[in-house]
């Protein structure tokens, strides 16, 4: 399937959308296609929103962000994200904030068809005072009280993988983070890949998603840049550093958006 057609078919205004990727295999090309198609009112979900979420927020796609760590790794702040929260530009951004452990367990519960997850989490922190869906549950055996968080089941999860075969079986390797859980927790799942191959070769550390667990696969070579795809290309650390200057200034960002996203085809 073509990326633009896949995004048009799977992502609707107002959807809860998760683009996952833990530094590695971030579905940047798909995120840019969502911006190009002018989606609005999205609830964006991600453990580690980085520059592609900064871009989607700056472009006005998002109504709400559900996350646990929002920054430009190794560089600093996400200035579009901060501008939205601190000054409501281009519009107000509602946030729902968790810890990584809480988010990871929310995806795992979603993938497991459970309504909630239990963890030793958030102890003594101010997060439960600001995030209403951090609650507690009591162990029916020990009486111990533990943290409970609701399952995450995005309308759409988008991930990027190294390859898929012609039947749509997906293979990724290296740091695969939370992608399997995010994909299995979603109602619809789009996977962009570096390439479509005749046959998936067994590899150390490979995670395979069978075709029947994936809604659509779209070839998007280089689709994770400036993040990296193990076996295909390295992380463009300079691009992450360069993003800081662009994102600090609304006009610079708006120009960048026109030139680098709206002005190009998928």
């Amino acid at each position: 399937m073509e990326l633009d057609a896949a995004v048009a078919a799977l992502v609707n205004d107002g959807d809860t959308v998760a683009l996952e990727g833990f530094t590695h295999l971030i579905p940047v090309a798909a995120g840019h296609e969502v911006i190009r198609q002018g989606r609005r009112g999205l609830t964006l979900v991600r453990m580690t929103p980085d520059i592609v979420y900064d871009q989607m927020i700056g472009a006005g796609c998002a109504r709400k962000l559900v996350f646990s760590w929002g920054g430009n790794p190794g560089v600093g702040s996400l200035h579009r994200f901060r501008d939205a929260i601190e000054h409501g530009w281009p519009g107000p951004l509602e946030i729902e904030e968790h810890s990584h452990a809480g988010m990871a367990n929310r995806y795992a519960a979603g993938a497991s068809g459970l309504p909630f997850a239990v963890l030793r989490g958030y102890l003594g922190t101010d997060l439960p005072r600001h995030t209403p869906n951090i609650k507690t549950v009591t162990c029916p055996f020990t009486g111990e009280e533990l943290a409970a968080v609701p399952a995450l089941n995005p309308d759409v999860t988008i991930i990027h993988a190294q390859c898929a075969d012609r039947d749509g079986n997906v293979q990724m390797w290296g740091l695969t983070g939370i992608q399997k859980e995010a994909a299995l927790a979603a109602r619809r799942c789009l996977v962009t890949v570096e390439e479509i191959v005749d046959r998936l070769e067994p590899r150390p550390g490979a995670v395979v998603l069978p075709s029947w667990a994936v809604t659509a696969v779209a070839a998007a070579p280089g689709g994770a840049r400036p993040s990296y795809a193990d076996g295909y290309y390295d992380r463009d650390n300079a691009a992450y550093q360069a993003w800081d200057a662009v994102a600090r200034d609304r006009d610079a960002f708006t120009t960048w958006l026109g030139d680098e996203v709206m002005g190009v085809r998928a």
């Binding site: 646990s68 760590w69 929260i85 904030e97 968790h98 452990a101 030793r120 003594g124 859980e181």
Partner: protein, 253 residues
């Protein structure tokens, strides 16, 4: 003895705080630099755990991010993110949690969420990441942060990661498995919790730094421990290893 910067002194002191063979949950930035330095100097057996899923990573250079490929390529095992937190961190298997901070208070509570009011923040920071559970579940926590009156406050604006709350006994009341912050290592010296009050007190000064300078860079009335000592200056070996590590990092950025 060649010159060194206060940041280099801080990183060296933090590396020295890791004893050989400990299993260490490493945050990116200063903690990662210090842990990698320890592995290259007195503690080659330190096991580094990164929240991206790399268990026992042995990077040849400093990763810029928590998920750089070099971490997976050199790890003993790569696991999913839920597994890192559920099977490895949560049960208390990790000896040391190595954290940074934007704000830290007199009881070692850490803020990486917001400066000012949560609903209308002066500065919006990245947020919690893995820190709340690292602070609760690791055997002990080491914090590395540059010291200033803005960062070292009486009370943090937001408790992202729990230290000792408002004093002794609070961790136990929460049933936390980990012991909490054991050392706060700064560019001026080292702070440690007073055994009786759990308040951070000055236990070491870096060479050439005075207690007055440390007190001036602290937002509460910083007490100095009776046994206040001076941290030895970086050795040639430590400085060389640190600088090689950073050059290798830059070369790979």
């Amino acid at each position: 003895m060649s010159d060194y910067t206060s940041d280099e002194m801080m990183t060296v002191a933090a590396a020295r705080a890791l004893t050989d063979g400990v299993v260490c949950f490493v945050g990116i930035g200063l903690p990662s630099t210090a842990a990698n330095l320890a592995r290259r100097t007195h503690a080659p057996g330190v096991v580094m755990i990164y929240e991206s899923g790399a268990l026992g990573a042995k990077p040849g250079w400093l990763p810029l991010s928590i998920g750089d490929g070099v971490l997976a390529d050199t790890a003993d095992s790569v696991v999913s993110v839920p597994e890192v937190f559920n099977y490895w961190l949560q049960p208390g298997r990790i000896d040391v949690g190595f954290l940074g901070a934007a704000q830290i208070d007199r009881f070692g509570n850490i803020n990486t969420t917001v400066i000012g009011d949560y609903a209308d923040p002066k500065v919006r920071l990245p947020g919690a990441g893995g820190a709340p559970e690292i602070a609760a579940s690791c055997g002990e926590v080491i914090v590395i942060v540059r010291q200033s009156a803005r960062a070292f406050v009486d009370r943090v604006d937001f408790v992202t990661s729990f230290g000792y709350g408002r004093g002794p006994g609070e961790r136990a009341r929460y049933g936390m498995r980990g012991g909490g912050p054991r050392k706060v290592i700064t560019d001026l010296g080292v702070l440690e919790p007073d055994p009786a009050t759990a308040e951070l007190t000055l236990t070491r000064l870096h060479p050439g730094v005075t207690a007055e300078q440390a007190r001036a860079a602290t937002g509460w009335d910083l007490a100095a421990s009776p046994g206040l000592t001076t941290e030895p200056a970086p050795t040639e070996a430590e400085l060389t290893a640190l600088r090689e590590l950073k050059e290798a990092g830059t070369a790979n950025v």
